[in-house]
């Protein structure tokens, strides 16, 4: 638990104002967001450093008819078109319909193709028709943040850590990235509306339990290089964690739906290379940071990701 009781009460009231006495359920409670469910509604407290103006712009996009069937639309929090409310200390709160998440038990059965088709549809949106200004996609900024978090976690240790060598490989792979992929320069492409943080926790079925799949979590939504949204599955495949046939099915579904972030046929890696390296670096940095905080060694999966970082600079 990272959230204070008053905030949880506020979220509970926001998620289920019509059902007094019903016990709210905390779905997620992390430093970058807390989600509480009350019946068919959830309420989210966004990250403390979330910019309310950018979030309001992202909420208007999620509620726009062009995103119908692609992004879960928010519920009014204050007024019919007021999707955002602030706590006394400035924390942004939003309301959403509840949807059924992907089962965490069987990644093979996850809706990889649905995810790819939703991304292709998102990337096909005519961004000139959106309520603007559309903020930038935040993926590269989060890669930089992950590297900073790893440095802080290792610096907190009092003596040299067995993780120092792993951290060095991750830092070098990060420095090997072009500045835009570390959020230090504008991206070369800003023509596509991107999700910015795709993983299997970003898909739900709405209406629950068996409605169509939709993308959720718009905190990083914005203009950028759409390949960023394909890059996490691409990185999992490249590091040997995701089975090649799942990656092939994901990519084929994206291309069949007209996805514009990679060339329509042939080797997609010229388009994926930089974002997939950036997300591998990000994943490895967070793995090293967590292992350092817990004073433990890297496990097999985490080692595979760090090894990929080492190969990026040794070629």
């Amino acid at each position: 638990m990272t959230t204070t009781a008053p905030l949880l009460q506020r979220l509970a009231a926001l998620s289920a104002p019509a059902v007094p006495g019903a016990a709210p359920e905390v779905l997620s409670d992390r430093p970058d967001g807390t989600v509480v469910r009350g019946g068919s509604t959830v309420a989210k407290a966004h990250a403390p450093d979330c910019d309310p103006h950018d979030l309001a712009a992202r909420l208007r996009i999620a509620a726009h008819p062009l995103l119908h069937g692609t992004l879960l639309p928010p519920l009014p929090a204050t007024a019919p078109d007021g999707f955002l409310t602030l706590t006394d200390d400035g924390r942004a709160l939003t309301r959403w319909p509840y949807g059924t998440p992907v089962s965490p038990d069987d990644p093979d059965a996850a809706p990889w193709e649905d995810a790819a088709r939703l991304l292709a549809r998102l990337h096909a949106v005519d961004v000139t028709q959106l309520p603007g200004p559309v903020p930038p996609m935040r993926g590269p900024a989060k890669s930089a943040r992950a590297l900073a978090r790893m440095r802080t976690a290792l610096a907190a240790g009092t003596r040299p850590s067995p993780l120092t060598a792993a951290a060095g490989a991750v830092v070098r792979a990060g420095e090997f990235l072009p500045p835009w992929a570390r959020g230090a320069a504008p991206p070369p492409r800003t023509d596509l509306l991107c999700h910015g943080d795709l993983h299997l926790g970003q898909l739900i079925r709405h209406p629950a339990p068996d409605g169509p799949w939709l993308l959720i979590d718009i905190d990083d939504l914005g203009l950028g290089d759409g390949a960023w949204d394909l890059a996490r599955p691409a990185a999992w495949f490249a590091t040997g964690l995701l089975a090649p046939d799942l990656w092939s099915r994901f990519l084929a579904a994206y291309r069949t739906t007209g996805g514009r972030a990679v060339r329509p046929e042939g080797d997609p890696w010229p388009d994926l290379e930089i974002p997939a390296r950036a997300l591998t670096v990000q994943t490895a940095a967070l793995a090293v940071a967590k292992a350092a905080a817990a004073s433990r060694a890297l496990d097999g999966t985490e080692t595979a990701v760090v090894d990929a970082c080492a190969r990026m600079t040794s070629l």
């Binding site: 970058d32 992907v102 965490p104 990644p107 093979d108 996850a110 989060k142 943080d197 993983h199 299997l200 926790g201 999992w236 495949f237 490249a238 590091t239 040997g240 964690l241 995701l242 089975a243 090649p244 046939d245 990656w247 092939s248 990519l251 080797d267 997609p268 890696w269 994926l272 290379e273 997939a276 390296r277 994943t283 967070l286 793995a287 496990d299 097999g300 999966t301 985490e302 595979a304 090894d307 990929a308 190969r311 990026m312 070629l315």
Partner: protein
């Protein structure tokens, strides 16, 4: 032993446990009682053990130079980490 046909000497060979006499002159082969059946049985066993025709090669998807080394064209081995708890976690987090 002499060949019953041309009377040249016969040489004894052992093939897969079956004794075969072959004539050094006319190259004729002499089988004892039951040896033809033994050879037929060995032949059918060999046919059953023959490997099935190789499957059509499955294209391995293109991968970057820094990717993990993959294991040939049969895709599904490697260390695809479904058995690692942390990969399950990785799939669902930023």
């Amino acid at each position: 032993m002499q060949c019953p046909k041309c009377h040249a000497p016969m040489q004894t060979y052992n093939r897969s446990g079956v004794q075969i006499e072959q004539c050094a002159g006319c190259r004729g082969i002499f089988l004892d009682y039951g040896e033809l059946e033994s050879l037929s049985r060995l032949e059918s066993q060999w046919l059953q053990q023959a490997p099935p025709p190789p499957p059509a090669p499955q294209a391995y998807p293109a991968a970057p130079a820094w990717g993990a080394p993959h294991q040939g064209h049969h895709g599904h081995h490697g260390h695809h980490g479904h058995h690692h708890r942390s990969f399950g976690h990785m799939l669902f987090s930023s």
